[in-house]
């Protein structure tokens, strides 16, 4: 009886591992295709799928350049927008979260509930009003309209609140006050260094969100010099590139590789961070 039970367990475990392997292959194949095909010529790609890279990376880059698609400039633009957004989102979200966690001011409960409410509201649907307002201010086709709104990121504040609730030490704050530090001095010099792991997690999500943001950039940015990578990806679907598969895959790879590198370095922060940002109440 007992041996029989053990055998069923072994079989079900084996089946589960097979299932997991199949699912992992399904997960990785599209990504692998992009990376491998970025190094293959269009002729090679049309001859069939391959698991191994080839030697046409530079050639593919040349094709993109030759057709007027400036991948390097798109990369720099994306990097600029994503880095600025990350710095602002991390700093101001932690500032707001710290204010909620440490001080007992009137209206604090209402404000906190309001933050949760904002997480659950589809703010992107006000993009038309946002666009018209920005154009009145002369801020369309300007990165400010993409970057500045991240100062009010409700999800990031919620994450920061959860994080500070677990790391803030009241005695450290009081000790800082006794030493004559101002309230902002305490935040900058005592709490920020303690909050670095939380800031890293928050920063990764802010960076990825800004890096991948297509819709807002697509609506707000119009001159081709200012195009970010997702907008170049959209251009690559045009007729000029239609059959230049190697070049298209290279363009896609450029958007994906930095994110994969970040993930390989910080995956632990990321996986822990997702669960912490969830509204569990």
């Amino acid at each position: 009886m007992k041996a029989n039970h053990g055998a069923t367990l072994t079989i079900s475990r084996a089946l589960i591992y097979i299932f997991l392997v199949v699912l992992a292959i399904v997960t990785v194949i599209p990504i692998w295709l992009v990376l491998v095909n970025a190094t293959r010529s269009t002729v090679e790609i049309q001859q069939g799928l391959s698991a191994l890279p080839s030697t046409n990376l530079l050639n593919n880059y040349g094709i993109l350049e030759g057709r007027g698609l400036n991948l390097g400039r798109g990369f720099t633009n994306s990097l600029f927008v994503a880095v600025c957004s990350t710095v602002l989102a991390v700093y101001f979200s932690l500032l707001t979260a710290y204010g909620i966690v440490v001080y007992d001011f009137r209206g604090k409960q209402v404000f906190t509930s309001f933050i949760i409410l904002l997480v659950l509201i589809p703010m992107q649907l006000s993009i038309i009003g946002f666009y018209q307002y920005m154009s009145r201010l002369g801020l369309t086709d300007n990165y400010a309209s993409l970057i500045l709104p991240v100062i009010a990121s409700a999800g990031a504040v919620f994450f920061g609140k959860q994080y500070f609730e677990s790391v803030v030490v009241r005695d450290l704050i009081d000790a800082g006050r006794v030493d004559g530090a101002g309230e902002f001095g305490i935040f900058h010099r005592i709490m920020m260094p303690i909050a670095v792991p939380g800031a890293v997690t928050l920063g990764i999500f802010a960076f990825v969100a800004a890096w991948n943001n297509f819709f807002n950039a697509f609506i707000l940015i119009s001159s081709i010099k200012k195009y970010t990578l997702p907008m170049l990806v959209q251009l690559m679907r045009g007729d000029v590139y239609r059959t230049e598969y190697g070049a298209i895959y290279l363009g896609l790879a450029v958007t994906i590789v930095p994110i994969i590198v970040i993930y390989l370095i910080f995956s632990r922060f990321i996986v822990n961070g997702i669960a912490m940002g969830a509204v569990k109440e």
Binding site: F92, Y98, A275
Partner: protein, 304 residues
């Protein structure tokens, strides 16, 4: 001792107004970049403003009545719900199944962290790039046709993306593929926070795994399931990048993958730039999504 304590509380109390200074930048940015655009979108939806013609006139509910009169609007709403539900159900199903396996003491699955890290990866990638990838894979001269024809499975290439079922199926697959890993992480976090002693006492009472899942795991997971459901719904109702870039940006074939946001964009990018009409799409979907999301969140949460 008591004196020190009251001294401390008094000390802190005097500083509490600093809270307003700390949250002030958020509130200002929210008013300027969050609330005002929402108001502005509502305001524009009652006008016939165009990008070309400048400030338009007040036209009352005209944009709304026109919208309801066009079959395209109901089609977009229906499509968005369909594409969302059909990717959400398998997403939550697979995530629950894998979470049960990964947390099972009996199965002892190895390297859970590695599996989870692999499954989560697609969530971080640029949706626009993924859509462009599938567009190229399934295009007429693309690798899928090449492989199928060369291997003799098909006699000649097929226009995959001109088939409604294929186009919808691909949007659903991509959305599922990008999100099931994130859902696993959330559900596992919920499961590991359930006390082991509950399962132990249930086992003593003779409950099997199915019963324990039904009567312990699911009820205690409810808050996290509601969170996953509501955030996925809110995201799903704003679906844009993938259906927009998978075919021609107008929801082809025959508007089968035209979503709410794509319709809003089509009005915005029309020759005249009908931003009044585009705003009315935004307003209606905003109201529909907010009412349902907040309703589910607060109604189910209170009962808990």
């Amino acid at each position: 001792m008591a004196a020190t304590n009251s001294h401390k509380t008094g000390f802190r109390f005097k500083k509490d107004y600093y809270g307003y200074l700390f949250i002030a930048p958020f509130i200002i940015a929210f008013l300027v970049f969050g609330l005002y655009p929402v108001y502005n979108t509502f305001r524009l939806s009652f006008t016939d403003t165009t990008l070309m013609g400048g400030a338009g006139d007040f036209v009352g509910l005209q944009n709304y009545t026109r919208l309801f009169a066009t079959p395209q609007f109901m089609k977009a709403i229906g499509n968005t719900w369909l594409l969302w539900i059909l990717n959400f159900l398998p997403q939550i199903g697979i995530a629950l199944l894998l979470s049960v396996w990964f947390t099972s003491i009996r199965l002892k699955i190895r390297s859970v962290g590695v599996w989870r890290a692999i499954f989560y990866l697609p969530n971080l990638l640029m949706p626009a790039a993924i859509a462009a990838l599938f567009f190229s894979l399934f295009s007429f001269f693309g690798p899928v046709n090449q492989a199928l024809v060369r291997s003799g499975i098909m006699a000649e290439p097929v226009q995959w993306l001109q088939n409604q079922t294929v186009a919808r199926g691909l949007v659903i697959f991509i959305q599922w593929w990008m999100w099931f890993g994130a859902t696993i992480i959330l559900i596992m976090a919920g499961m590991t926070s359930i006390s082991v002693s509950l399962y132990e006492s249930a086992m003593i009472d003779g409950a099997d795994e199915g019963k324990m899942f039904r009567w312990i795991t699911v009820p205690l997971l409810k808050p996290i399931l509601i969170y996953v459901f509501v955030t996925s719904l809110v995201g799903g109702m704003q679906m844009f990048d993938i259906p927009f870039l998978l075919t021609d940006g107008r929801g082809s074939p025959s508007s089968s993958i035209l979503t709410n946001n794509m319709l809003m964009y089509l009005k915005f990018s029309s020759a005249q730039g009908h931003i009044g009409a585009a705003s009315s799409v935004g307003v209606l979907v905003f109201i529909m999504t907010s009412v349902i999301a907040l309703g589910i969140f607060y109604f189910l949460r209170e009962k808990n």
